[in-house]
Symmetry: C2
Subunit: 289 residues, 2 copies
């Protein structure tokens, strides 16, 4: 990656951190913070979520997102929605204004309209980089993650701890380039790609979704803490390095418990990431440390 590209990613990650951290600093909730951070990343064309989502086999964008609250285990998620500017906002609306957890496809879009969630025309979601990736995937007849060349994952997510001691998690993604057949990955599945419970932790995952689903990766971190007494770091290492990696499950996750010390871990070459635990001191990184 060219240095100026790297700069753009660091800049976008800092902007997302800022939008979330400002809310926490002002005494806002972890839910508001994770949604604001993820919206910031959805609006940025660099990441595989919202505006910068990858193309499906049919040349469309099918977006997945989830949000979960640590104090009540309330959760909301959407899968395979098209045209929704901020899928994470729709996931929040499912949590707050429906009796359901997971809505999909045209039905979820109909719900979005009933809640006055913003839509965008198809060309809003067009980015040259994703289009070229799709064309290449079409030529080669493959379905692929969005990290082919540099092994960094484009699904976006956020975890936060607020002054009230509540954790929250949110995840948003366009899934896999050239995906077919209404494929749904781990991001919108509570326990697989997204989890939050004050008694353990908040988790948001990125990577090869099928492996994360079959590992119930996010909830497994919580179970290793609650049932086996592991620390957040130990539990994350167990899942990402000793379970997912040997199975071929490339990816990583971000996690936070009520101590407020974040864990950002991946078994791939890199993972775009950022964290902030003090005012005015955002940290961002791409490759291994």
């Amino acid at each position: 990656m060219r240095p100026e590209q790297e700069k753009e990613y660091h800049h976008a990650l800092k902007a997302a951190l800022e939008s979330g951290y400002n809310i926490l600093q002002a005494g806002g909730s972890s839910l508001d913070a994770v949604v604001a951070a993820v919206e910031s990343l959805e609006d940025c064309p660099l990441f595989n979520a919202g505006r910068g989502a990858v193309f499906t086999n049919e040349g469309k964008h099918e977006l997945d997102a989830a949000v979960m609250l640590g104090n009540s285990r309330a959760a909301g998620a959407v899968a395979s929605v098209s045209g929704v500017r901020n899928p994470v906002r729709l996931a929040r609306a499912v949590m707050e204004h429906s009796e359901h957890v997971l809505l999909a496809g045209a039905g979820a879009e109909q719900f979005a309209k009933s809640r006055a969630i913003a839509f965008e025309p198809e060309d809003y979601f067009f980015t040259r980089q994703r289009y070229d990736q799709w064309q290449e995937a079409m030529r080669e007849g493959v379905v692929q993650l969005d990290h082919r060349d540099d092994k960094k994952f484009g699904t976006v997510g956020a975890v936060a701890l607020d002054n009230a001691g509540n954790v929250a998690a949110a995840t948003s993604t366009g899934g896999m380039t050239n995906k077919r057949f209404g494929r749904i990955g781990d991001s919108p599945l509570i326990g697989a790609g997204t989890w939050a419970d004050n008694t353990t932790c908040a988790v948001s995952c990125t990577g090869h979704g099928e492996y994360f689903i079959r590992a119930v990766a996010a909830y497994d971190v919580a179970c290793l803490m609650e049932y086996k007494g592991k620390s957040l770091r130990q539990a994350c290492e167990e899942v990402v390095m000793r379970k997912l990696k040997p199975a071929g499950g490339e990816g990583g996750l971000i996690a936070l418990d009520r101590t407020g010390v974040p864990v950002l871990i991946f078994n791939s070459e890199g993972m775009y990431r950022g964290w902030q635990t003090m005012p005015g001191a955002p940290n961002t990184a791409i490759y291994g440390d």
Copy 2:
């Protein structure tokens, strides 16, 4: 429920047991057994799966199913598919013939056609009882489980252990009567409504899906066994009676580990269920024992 109705349920449960148990007796796999048992229940108009599925708000049938194998943790699932005669067969095809775990909606139906999975016209799925339930739910403006009057659950599932020592689980459902917005419940979500791993157990759930999703109910049973050393029965009681019940999560599950002693547990008034551990001795029940 009238005695002759009860008789019909016992008869249908015995037929499903027989179709699965015959396969195991002949040395077949637990996967073949659970799929055969669930197909038998899908073909029976009495249960809320396949033929007897409930009506959605739009007067359609949107079917969910999943299957998982204990020796490899391979899994396949479909959500919101219409017209597929045996959704569990499609879930198996996703596991065996796609690189994905979860396919949904029109895309999943397209995949079904590519695998020559059988479809049925809309009237195949018409049953007077479900139609009347839907009309009543429409009049009252509610979304409801299919057990309103008698608190028994109509989602179908099966777990099995074969001679090779492999467990498997399968689940199939029409979801909630009068459901809208592409709602997906726990049945097709690996870890929530369906789970199988030889090191712990195979689980299939039925009940109020949203609670089972937020509890990651099926995988929680496995985690309590693996990380906390609980027996299958203890783990199932913990999840169904001490976690789901106080939270309002009405329902139950069937589970099996490699000892071959099944657990069938529910926190509701009843659960249509059956089990067989010896040739010629099928057991069926509806209410609490």
